[in-house]
């Protein structure tokens, strides 16, 4: 796999995870403050833009690689969420999470060699 392909896989995953979290924050905010405010609208707009970027990058990648090759990389999103939780929530890594993350990483390495 070329460096470019790996970079696009990473960007499509990061944008997807970021979009999900931003949209979730926006929905939580709207539950108390409603939807007619610039905070909510701007967050939803950012979320939708990020989702769109992720979608089209995936579409570009699918033109070049098998789905069975690309799909396992989605497991990396777990690693991003873990890192984010460690940074934002100062959450400690549980043994279960660490083993799971290791399994996913090892699996992705095998798939990327196939």
């Amino acid at each position: 796999m070329s460096f470019l392909a790996f970079l696009f896989i990473l960007i499509s995953l990061v944008t997807f995870v970021a979009a999900q979290l931003i949209l979730k924050k926006a929905m939580q905010f709207s539950a108390t403050k409603g939807m007619r405010n610039s905070y909510f609208v701007s967050r939803v707009a950012i979320g939708v833009v990020l989702m769109t970027v992720s979608f089209f990058l995936t579409l570009g990648l699918l033109q070049r690689f098998d789905l069975s090759y690309l799909y396992p990389f989605q497991g990396l999103s777990v690693i991003f969420i873990t890192i984010l939780a460690a940074v934002v929530l100062k959450e400690k890594l549980s043994a279960r999470l660490a083993i799971g993350a290791l399994l996913i990483t090892a699996g992705i390495l095998l798939v990327s060699m196939s």
Binding site: L4, F8, Q20, L21, K24, F55, F56, L57, T58, L59, G60, L61, L62, Q63, R64, D66, L67, S68, Y69, Y71, P72, Q74, G75, V78, I81, T82, L84, A85, V88, L89, E91, S94, R96, L97, I99, G100, A101, L102, L103, I104, T105, A106, G107, I108, L109, L110, V111, S112, M113, S114
Partner: protein, 134 residues
């Protein structure tokens, strides 16, 4: 899990529908992308040329449908139950690649997929809890 509606509004049915929509959309996206693939054209990295395929549009419809039913599911089923169950799609997609797309999956790749799926199964609950707090 407050008073759960029955029939088509049953959240467990909607969870199943959401998973099926995600599964089908992945396969349709792959088919659609392959139909219009132009790997020698640098512009095609943007994926925008994929819109020329009707299958891609069907996939978009299914993605939106899965999103709506997922939001509905979350009103009734807690994320740390719904999310791990939704990961069934990680088993369905490689099987779908093999059965419906005819992809030749090597033993090495099957082993990698199995490791990823088992890792995801292990972390699904803690990740759902983290996502809830993030």
């Amino acid at each position: 899990m407050q008073n759960r509606p029955s029939g088509f509004g049953n959240p467990w049915l909607q969870l199943g529908l959401s998973v099926v929509c995600v599964f089908a959309s992945e396969l349709l996206l792959k088919r659609g992308a392959s139909e219009v693939a132009a790997p020698d054209d640098a512009f095609s990295w943007t994926g925008i040329n994929g819109l020329a395929s009707p299958l891609v549009w069907w996939a978009i419809v299914l993605i939106i449908a899965s999103f709506i039913s997922w939001l509905y599911v979350l009103r009734y089923i807690p994320l740390n139950i719904a999310y791990p169950l939704s990961r069934v799609v990680d088993i369905l997609v490689p099987l779908g690649c093999w059965i419906f797309l005819g992809e030749l999956i090597s033993t090495l790749r099957w082993c990698g997929i199995a490791l990823v799926v088992s890792g995801l199964a292990l972390v699904a609950k803690p990740i759902a809890k983290m996502e809830e707090r993030l």
